[in-house]
Symmetry: D2
Subunit: 309 residues, 4 copies
Amino acid sequence: MCITCAFSEVFEHAGKPKRSHGEGMTMESAILLLSCPDAKGIDVRISEFIWRNGGNIVHFDQHVDEEFGRYFARVEWALDDFSIPKDRVEEAFAPLASELGADWRVHFSSERPRIAIMVSRHLHCLYDLLAKWKGGRLPCHIPLIIGDKPDGEEVARMFGVPFYHVPVDPRRREEGERKQIELLKGKNVELVVLARYGKILSSGFVDEFRNRIISVHPSFLPAFPGKDPFTQAHRRGVKLIGATVHFVTAGVDEGPIVSQEVTRVSHKDGLADLIRKSEDLEKTILSEAVRLYCERKILVYENKTIVFE
Amino acid sequence: MCITCAFSEVFEHAGKPKRSHGEGMTMESAILLLSCPDAKGIDVRISEFIWRNGGNIVHFDQHVDEEFGRYFARVEWALDDFSIPKDRVEEAFAPLASELGADWRVHFSSERPRIAIMVSRHLHCLYDLLAKWKGGRLPCHIPLIIGDKPDGEEVARMFGVPFYHVPVDPRRREEGERKQIELLKGKNVELVVLARYGKILSSGFVDEFRNRIISVHPSFLPAFPGKDPFTQAHRRGVKLIGATVHFVTAGVDEGPIVSQEVTRVSHKDGLADLIRKSEDLEKTILSEAVRLYCERKILVYENKTIVFE
Amino acid sequence: MCITCAFSEVFEHAGKPKRSHGEGMTMESAILLLSCPDAKGIDVRISEFIWRNGGNIVHFDQHVDEEFGRYFARVEWALDDFSIPKDRVEEAFAPLASELGADWRVHFSSERPRIAIMVSRHLHCLYDLLAKWKGGRLPCHIPLIIGDKPDGEEVARMFGVPFYHVPVDPRRREEGERKQIELLKGKNVELVVLARYGKILSSGFVDEFRNRIISVHPSFLPAFPGKDPFTQAHRRGVKLIGATVHFVTAGVDEGPIVSQEVTRVSHKDGLADLIRKSEDLEKTILSEAVRLYCERKILVYENKTIVFE
Amino acid sequence: MCITCAFSEVFEHAGKPKRSHGEGMTMESAILLLSCPDAKGIDVRISEFIWRNGGNIVHFDQHVDEEFGRYFARVEWALDDFSIPKDRVEEAFAPLASELGADWRVHFSSERPRIAIMVSRHLHCLYDLLAKWKGGRLPCHIPLIIGDKPDGEEVARMFGVPFYHVPVDPRRREEGERKQIELLKGKNVELVVLARYGKILSSGFVDEFRNRIISVHPSFLPAFPGKDPFTQAHRRGVKLIGATVHFVTAGVDEGPIVSQEVTRVSHKDGLADLIRKSEDLEKTILSEAVRLYCERKILVYENKTIVFE
């Protein structure tokens, strides 16, 4: 097909405005998340596939990681004039993806991810996620909340989300986790959000949800991983404290980082102040990470994330 | 009384540790908030009053404003060995206060302020205040929530706080406000928190609660006061957006500033992004301001605040 | 020309790695800055022009402003295999640009912009610009420094840059400005950087260098424009102070904003503290803005900037 | 002496305004830095010593560290009406200090500390320190700069400060350090500032200047200590990078932290971007730490600092 012709076709639709980032996106769009070995012209080939089929690209973000020699892209296009039906898009794109040697997935803006929240005793992140979700700020379904402690039950009830209390006995961790995984799979959960969940997940659990578990840790990782980061930070006499959202991998607090934030502390701040200040950081960045996930803006590769904000 | 003697008395109690800032303060304390014309030795005179009566000072924060030639202090002392009963402390301090020509007030850590929240349609701050309050992070009572719209009712019910829907017709503002003031006074409310309340209060309302109404405005004041700060900010093409908590005075968004925070935006951010980013700022600084008020850490003088964080 | 062929040509060069953002860019590249009415497929048409002529795109940043219905792009491509000689690139691109109705300009990474710095008494920004320039952090030429006061002369001499003392008598401003403009034009200056220059430029001066004068103002604009922003901020009792880099237009401190930064202040900070804290902000964002300009990362349209960081 | 009398004396001077924090402090003041085991009434005893001798306290900052059960204070008072001559102040205060079991030192605002800067190849901090010093922002003497590389010599000459090139051969480190220590002692240096000095100091060197060497490390300690923090940060995929100023102790990058700052990075930032962004952080916090030291606002105890900002 000749590019001049392609364009004449393209410009028939030119009067229709693109929709802006973050604006009320009422029409349905498709979102391609893709990574592949870097090469010249990948952008053009992907664009060309979309234009040729009548799609109007509204966002095209790409990145090349030099270290890995790898290309990453998030492409979003409007489906209203797209000639390929939704259920055949993947099939239609597969040949090009295969040529590129790509890891890829096509999402649709109308398909909200199903997300589970896991909690223990600290409920500030749970409140914030549920309030934002109820207020329409998080485009997802939340079919269940799991707690290894019963503390989250009341909050779950306030927001009308089913709560499952599944205690995990450290000596028989697999048993508790088996129940949790069953619940998550039974509800067809795509993303698991550890909202200050207090137990370390087994590598078996992590493998079941590879790159689909995120957690918030109350420190500026890699500083102060693991147990009691507040005491560690207080003892070290740091002048800023932080919080980190990361994907969960087998190594504790070692997974790819999605988001980090810090706030100022001084010698006047005791442990209780550090905890209080941290809670607002944790809430903000965990909700933000969930939103970015729902909007299909996060790619994970090896131990890094590409976040197309 | 001789200062040497004062000290010998003082040191009898020396073994008892001071309590640290922010640590679990289980024993009751008194808190003096005071401002007066600046002079030499005010600190010593106040300290001396407390020591002489067996009080153990745990915090002494002071500030001199050069412009006003005025001294400000917040003094907190433990009551366990204090020889003056709580109900006679003000009487006992009055002579010194009078000599200093001071505006002052003594609070007690056991007396939690009674706070009312006023809302309209945007509920993010309401959720955050109530979640922190329920989680024990805000040492206050919340006897009622008032909405000029019915939107906040469900949230109020979730947290078990009485909600009063008092519509305010702009053409008969006084009428609506009269009902609101009646409710607030009937519940013996000390502080009114405007959590994105959408109406401008009359000067009559403001006078009823002088220096006892705080509001959050979604801009970095004095930039973008009044109506639609997001559109103003978006049009001006700012690279940071902010939020401001201030005491409410007769001039719209002109009262003494308690707290401000900003976050980064770019040309990519549409109005919806500005609003979303702002909400997290607003929540955090409004809750923080309420906490500081509850802990008696804010002094207001003319158009400024002294915040002893 | 057929797009399939275009691609086969494209992929011949695929083995050559793209260069990463910010890495030592030793090979020469061309940079297109363009804005035009928004339409479907602009990205593909521009890409196609570059690919077809053997260019390897290393960065393609684009943005659509909904308010203006306008498309903005910065495209950078390596020149090593590009078949069009540098001095004919503009001619070759002109037909497409004309079809798009674009404002545009092609720059080359090897052509460093010629920048003049104008100062008065406050020299912190001058030091920072010169130190970064000397350290290789600012890819530009600095052929002269102009001061309406003699204060900057010593610093200029330290760094070996010619200094011209051109006093501007407010009653005969045009006269002083005429000399300044003559100097700037004589040295073939592209960008004028007002590094805390104390005089307001006439609209005549501004017109001579339209969208080519940037200035740093020590406040968070639009708050506290014009004279004495520190006193204004101090009186208002703000809890954050800011600095703003903007393009200079006829209205004082009203031009398109390039960059803003803030830092925390409290009641304890006097005027001198505000000034000291501000200086570090001003330095950092002014140098940053100059760097972004040199790297051709700033587009101006109406009263906004698009900054492709 | 009777406290009532003390006050009558005190109030004779009441008309004279206190000077504000950070304002041009033209009159001379004394500054006491003190730490001792915590006890009741320490504040009053210190104040009383000063008032009794006619001193007008302009700042009294104190802190109690619960973990160590230790009291810290910085007290500044005007000397104009102080009855004890400067050279006898320490003698006069010694008995009270001894009773309190205190570590302490009295400084005078007129005595500017003598500071040496040590550098290697990266000169951004050196420029910033010297520009601020020349601009009157750092109240200190800088009698010499030492470089283990010759790179800093030109900058030193620009600012008229003697530069000594003292190479340090890793196999004979003591030899080089001996020369450096000789130079520092010969110039009567109080504080050694490592402005991105590239060599690790021996414990012998550190012992010679206990709590009197500060260094800036380009990471958010305790994350990424030691060699090549930028590569470590880049590999870990952090979303914020930081810089830390700390006192130098025997353990590399393990000393008490004075100041920390961070800035945002993304997947788009390569190593060169991290380095560039870090340099502005490093400059700002190192200069700030030197200023705080010069103003006698830093106390060190065990592995923590108390910074009275």
